[in-house]
């Protein structure tokens, strides 16, 4: 199931990739292995797969060991961490590899191979790596877990058997013939095959659609949410699906978003397989949607919202909106046809009066000539202005026990008391979002005249409500704040959220993808609004169903895959969004490096921690699972996606870090070292008592470091891990943490950026401004001296421990004139010949920015040169509000011909900078590339 999800996305990819893959046997193998792994989501299966596939494939000792570990892990962890976590990891890895292979068969792969010795193919190496990482991580976790839950392991084995049986049955029966066909093909093609193997058991699931009709389909018992979601969207003929999601009701009033990256079964547990298809992210400007059909579904959702009272509006607005509904449904007013109580069949408002219906009819007459699509657009233009449009409300109490409502929306967090807005925290103002038990915290950037950030706590009805709110915040922030298409890195960072992250596309990305939609406007039949208007779920306002927990795309892959597809479709070969996840690493060097690093990290971390596998699992698995497996999850995640892991780490680093979403389950954290980054992973686990999310980009890198450190320290921290602790610990831990990992993360980020850029740049000037301070000086010195070391001493970066740089994710903007791209880290590579100017910024503290001017204490400028780079370091010390701040700006000019890998150089520079200035945070990276084409983007 989970595998299925991945498989679907993969499938999409595959077709595209297939060509190349086929061309290259290795990639196919990898994919196959992946599939196998996916198919064998069950722990046993996984173990088998891993063992069978990787073992044969990889003769290398590490791989075998890993395999063994995996098997063991899988058994132990299997239940906790669904196979798919592992699988996902494998997927991600495999995909990246595949892509990498395809595009640049490269050195990177070699590196990986070298580590793993992938006998079968490139894919295997990746797998191996993943596996290894998992093994390591898992090993620790497993040990712990095993001891804890030996019984669980057995079940897992059983599952494996079942799965096997299922596979057999499937092969014979082929209930889903089509799929099986695919699977057959898959065996060759790989991707599709995943489904086939597991399918034996199917479950009928029902989805209530927005028009009130019900969609029924059979799913594999282990299907991931993405599979169902994709089926529904296919049924609806909906392409712009990132705004939507599937809900299931825990209780009559507790809505949860189905996480597409996790197995459905694990999310709904014993609940019936009954879902509702809903809008998850309300687009602030519906007119920017590409297709009318998308607007139509949004209209249907809003009709529900309005009729149920969730979206309050005035009498006049009720009447106006109702009149557009009539126009869309019934066309022009016809005095002969439309008379009497024809209107009463529609529900426009919770309390519909005769007077209102008369007003509706009156207004309906004025809309003559509007097509249904135009009427929908008018409806949306008015609905979007409602103050509660797109606001996901959650009941809470403030610190004094007063009942309030927390509203999550595209712009931030709103605080209501009764109907009154009593406070508002825009995303840029929020440094960190976290929850602990039933408490939800936001850390606020200091105001202009304030020196210290403040943390505001709210009491939610229970732990699950707190986590639900937290996830909604993470998702909304990621979806809406990471605007530029180039932000994949950001997305990564943001999404990272230690445990849970939003793995889907951001709004910017989905818009980008939507631009590629090239099909005639699909015909769709409008259902009677009567049905629609009857609120399916007249949920009370208080409930925040909207908050979507799930990540749209399955963890990294789906998104990446989609992105990739789009790109291909677009014909843009370059970096595009795929970057988010390591998997998609079209870009050569950056991704590769990243992946490698990630792998290394994973392996390293895993080795010591053994939590990796768990982490992976956690990330993939849904919340529920996570709860059980808290610790394990972390480790697993790491293995899965390097980038993600980094992100996750970033989260940990909250203090230093800026944005990353850090969700550390205290437990999980402790258990798993590095790996949070992976998708939903740790954060998602319901049990997780603690979750953190830092909205800043750069933070991610830092976070990663922290996480690693944390992992090491995990045990200590476990108890402490409250949000604050997390932050603190990271700092402390940082020193301990292996530098390598740190570097890697930095690199990843950097690389990502680079990747985005397209790489071929003649001149790179990076300016990294760092805030914070004391260490900066030292760093600078080093940098200067180091210049020789690194091609690009990116020293610029500085990691600040003290203040979370707060940088909003937004900060980092990569603008490629030519490419929007996806900044996924993967494609760092380099030198193609394009001229681009890329500016990376990680906003620092807004406060500082806004800020008040400080008093300049000192300033110095240091210049150093190496063969291809010139580094200018400008250090300034300021005193603001009694706090001294050291800002180091490094300008690195990389000059060279096309052969120079600027991205790499940049990445190194940043890495070094971070290493050198562990206490500093990188608040801003501006990359200017001057190439022949001379494209410039700034941001």
């Amino acid at each position: 199931m989970t595998t299925e999800v991945g498989s679907e996305t993969e499938v999409k990819k595959d077709p595209e990739q297939v060509g190349p893959d086929k061309a290259k046997d290795k990639p196919e193998e990898a994919s196959e292995t992946v599939e196998n792994e996916k198919s064998g989501k069950t722990s046993s299966e996984e173990a088998q797969d891993s063992s069978s596939v990787p073992a044969p494939a990889s003769h290398s000792s590490p791989s075998s060991q890993k395999k063994e570990k995996d098997s063991s892990e899988s058994k132990g962890i299997s239940r906790f961490l669904p196979p798919w976590l592992k699988k996902q990891k494998s997927y991600t890895l495999a995909e990246p590899k595949d892509e990498a292979k395809k595009r640049a068969a490269g050195e990177e792969q070699v590196v990986e191979e070298s580590e793993c010795h992938p006998p079968e193919g490139m894919a295997q190496p990746k797998r191996i790596l993943e596996v290894v990482a998992e093994n390591n991580a898992k090993a620790d976790d497993k040990e712990e877990k095993h001891s804890v839950s030996s019984a669980e392991t057995q079940p897992a084995k059983e599952d494996g058997k079942e799965t096997e049986v299922e596979k057999v049955a499937e092969e014979k029966e082929e209930k889903q013939e089509k799929e099986k066909r695919e699977t057959k093909e898959v065996q060759t093609a790989e991707v599709i095959s995943q489904k086939s193997p597991k399918k034996i058991k199917t479950v009928q699931s029902k989805v209530v659609l927005l028009d009130g009709t019900e969609y029924t389909c059979d799913l594999e018992k282990r299907a991931k949410g993405q599979i169902l979601f994709d089926k529904v969207c296919e049924h609806l003929n909906l392409l712009e699906k990132d705004y939507f999601g599937l809900l299931f009701y825990e209780n009559s009033d507790q809505k949860n978003w189905l996480d597409p990256s996790k197995e459905i079964k694990r999310q709904i547990r014993s609940l019936p397989w009954l879902f509702t298809f809903n809008v998850k992210f309300y687009p602030p400007d519906p007119s920017q949607l590409t297709e009318d059909i998308t607007r139509y579904f949004l209209c249907l959702q809003l009709r529900q919202d309005i009729a149920s009272g969730r979206l309050p509006c005035s009498f006049v607005t009720h009447a106006l909106l109702g009149s557009y509904i009539l126009q869309a449904e019934m066309g022009d007013h016809d005095p002969e046809e439309h008379h009497g109580d024809y209107i009463s069949e529609f529900q426009f408002a919770p309390n519909q009066t005769q007077e209102m219906e008369e007003k509706v009819a009156e207004l309906h007459k004025t809309h003559r000539g509007l097509t249904p699509a135009q009427a929908d657009s008018q409806f949306l233009e008015n609905a979007k202005r409602l103050s509660m449009y797109g606001v996901d409300l959650h009941h809470a109490k403030d610190s004094e026990g007063v009942d309030i409502m927390l509203g999550v929306c595209a712009n931030g967090l709103l605080i209501y008391k009764d109907r009154l807005r009593i406070n508002r925290f825009a995303w840029p103002k929020i440094l960190k979002i976290s929850y602990k038990r039933s408490n939800f915290y936001i850390k606020i950037r200091p105001a202009e005249l304030e020196q210290f950030e403040s943390t505001i706590g709210f009491k939610l009805p229970n732990h699950r409500a707190a986590k639900r709110l937290w996830k909604v915040c993470v998702e909304h922030h990621t979806f809406f704040r990471l605007l530029s298409p180039e932000q994949p890195p950001k997305a990564k960072f943001l999404t990272l959220g230690s445990k849970f992250r939003y793995s889907g596309r951001t709004q910017a990305q989905t818009r980008q993808a939507s631009n590629l939609i090239d099909r005639p406007a699909p015909y769709f039949e409008r259902t009677s609004s009567k049905r629609v208007s009857r609120s399916l779920d007249g949920a009370p306002m208080g409930i925040s169903d909207q908050s979507l927990l799930r990540d749209f795309p399955t963890t990294g892959r789906p998104s990446a895959g989609d992105k990739i597809i789009d790109l291909e479709a677009a014909g843009q070969g370059k970096l595009k969004e795929g970057g988010r996840e390591d998997d998609v690493s079209p870009l050569k060097t950056p991704q590769l490096e990243l992946t490698q690093d990630g792998k290394r990290h994973a392996s390293r971390t895993e080795g010591p921690c053994t939590g990796v596998s768990d982490a992976d699992k956690s990330s993939h698995e849904t919340l529920d699972i996570v709860e059980e497996k808290k610790q394990a999850e972390v480790g697993i995640e790491e293995t899965l996606v390097v980038d993600e892991t980094d992100k996750g780490k970033m989260q940990v680093a909250a203090d230093a870090g800026e944005t990353c979403k850090v969700e550390h389950l205290s437990k999980k954290d402790s258990s798993s070292l590095p790996s949070y980054s992976s998708s939903s992973s740790s954060s998602e686990s319901e049990d997780e008592e603690v979750g953190e999310y830092q909205p800043h980009h750069r933070a991610i890198e830092e976070v990663i470091r922290e996480e690693q450190e944390e992992e090491e320290d995990v045990k200590r921290r476990e108890l402490e891990e409250k949000i604050q602790h997390v932050e603190d610990t990271p700092q402390s831990s940082k020193p301990t943490v292996p530098v390598e990992s740190m570097q890697v993360t930095a690199e990843d980020s950097v690389q990502e950026n680079a990747i985005i850029i397209p790489t071929e740049e003649k001149n790179l000037s990076e300016e990294i401004k760092e805030d914070l301070g004391e260490e900066k000086e030292e760093e600078q010195l080093k940098l200067n001296g180091d210049v020789s070391h690194v091609d690009i001493d990116v020293a610029p970066e500085i990691i600040c421990c003290s203040e979370p740089p707060v940088v909003k994710t937004e900060m980092v903007t990569i603008s490629d004139a030519t490419q929007r791209t996806e900044i996924s880290t993967k494609e760092v590579p380099i030198v193609q010949t394009e001229t681009k100017t890329i500016t990376y910024e990680s906003p620092q503290f807004d406060g500082s920015a806004d800020g008040s001017a400080g008093v300049l204490l000192s300033a110095q400028t240091i210049t150093s040169e190496s063969i291809s780079t010139t580094t200018t370091t400008h250090i300034t010390k300021m005193v603001k509000g009694g706090v001294s701040e050291t800002r180091i700006e490094k300008r690195i000019v990389i000059t060279g011909d096309g052969d120079i890998d600027h991205d790499e150089a940049l990445a190194q520079a940043i890495k070094e900078a971070k290493e050198q200035h562990p206490d500093m945070s990188v608040t801003r990276v501006v990359v200017h590339k001057e190439t022949e084409l001379a494209e410039e983007d700034e941001d």
């Binding site: 309050p312 509006c313 005035s314 009498f315 006049v316 607005t317 106006l320 909106l321 207004l363 004025t366 008018q378 233009e381 008015n382 202005r385 409602l386 103050s387 929306c409 712009n411 008391k417 009764d418 109907r419 009154l420 807005r421 009593i422 406070n423 508002r424 825009a426 103002k429």
Partner: protein, 286 residues
């Protein structure tokens, strides 16, 4: 289509204005936050007539003038008795008990305009229209001595389309004692610490970014913006004779038709420009 204010472009549109003559009792009995010189009734009347004349004659509004009521010394300040937004009017429950009856006449005149009338019947609620700032996108309600949380809640219930945010007001009578809208997205704000603090609060609470027009004098920050089809942006502001420095700031608004109006007498009893009228935009004729 009256939907939600008709969009940003419709802000300041106005067809009708409700005003009320001032009673002689105002001079001695009107509530005032601080002791000071007595109101020169004759001059106050002249200023008020000029004010009404601008609305009626210069701007072409249909002005509905209520007669003075000597038993209601503050009745000239009609703004406090009703909040009208689009087709809906909320009759308030003024914070000062002596002013509660002012609402009755207001109710009658608004009913004559065929507006949707909502009355504030909750005896725990108080709301002065002077505490209500409508920006075209949302409401800000000052929580002052005259307006309480419950009153603000009722306002929010009345105008459900809009966000209603509360702003603490401590040092002034009303929220609009130091601010007002000077344009579709422009908030005129006084320079006092309290005014600036309130502005920050409003900025934080809003999803929108407003431009601000800071004037040296808090009282001068209360101005009246209108969007008159034949005249474009119109701004009634305090005369240069009263607040020369603030007037200079207004004079920088090149796109606005500026109309200075003196309000020296009513200011003695805390009256500001917006206090003396309720502006209504009737899009559909009766």
């Amino acid at each position: 289509m009256a939907g939600l204010g008709g969009g940003p472009g419709a802000f300041g549109r106005c067809t009708h204005a409700v005003v009320r003559a001032l009673p002689e009792s105002l001079c001695r009995q009107a509530l005032r936050s601080a002791a000071g010189p007595e109101v020169d009734f004759a001059r106050a009347e002249r200023e008020h007539q000029l004010y009404v004349g601008v609305l009626r004659g210069k701007l072409g509004l249909r002005v509905l003038e209520l007669p003075a009521d000597e038993s209601l010394p503050d009745c000239v300040f009609v703004e406090d008795a009703a909040v009208v937004c689009e087709e809906t009017a909320l009759l308030t429950r003024p914070g000062a008990p002596s002013r509660r009856k002012e609402v009755e006449a207001m109710k009658r005149v608004l009913e004559s305009l065929n507006l949707n009338i909502v009355e504030m019947v909750d005896e725990n609620a108080t709301l002065d229209g002077g505490d209500v700032l409508f920006t075209g996108r949302e409401f800000f309600v000052g929580l002052s001595k005259r307006t309480n949380q419950r009153g603000a809640e009722i306002l929010a219930d009345t105008f459900k389309d809009y966000a209603v945010s509360t702003v603490p007001v401590h040092d002034s009578l009303h929220l609009k004692s130091f601010c007002s809208m000077a344009g579709p997205n422009l908030i005129a704000i006084g320079s006092s610490e309290a005014a600036q603090k309130a502005l920050k609060t409003m900025q934080q609470m809003s999803d929108h970014r407003y431009d601000k027009l800071t004037v040296p004098d808090d009282a001068a920050a209360n101005c009246i913006y209108l969007n008159i089809p034949s005249k474009g942006h119109v701004l009634l502001h305090r005369a240069p004779e009263e607040y020369p420095e603030s007037a200079k700031v207004f004079e920088k608004l090149k796109d606005h038709m500026l109309i200075p109006i003196a309000n020296t007498e009513l200011e003695k009893v805390d009256g500001a420009l917006t206090c003396c009228s309720v502006l209504i935009n009737k899009t559909s004729e009766l």
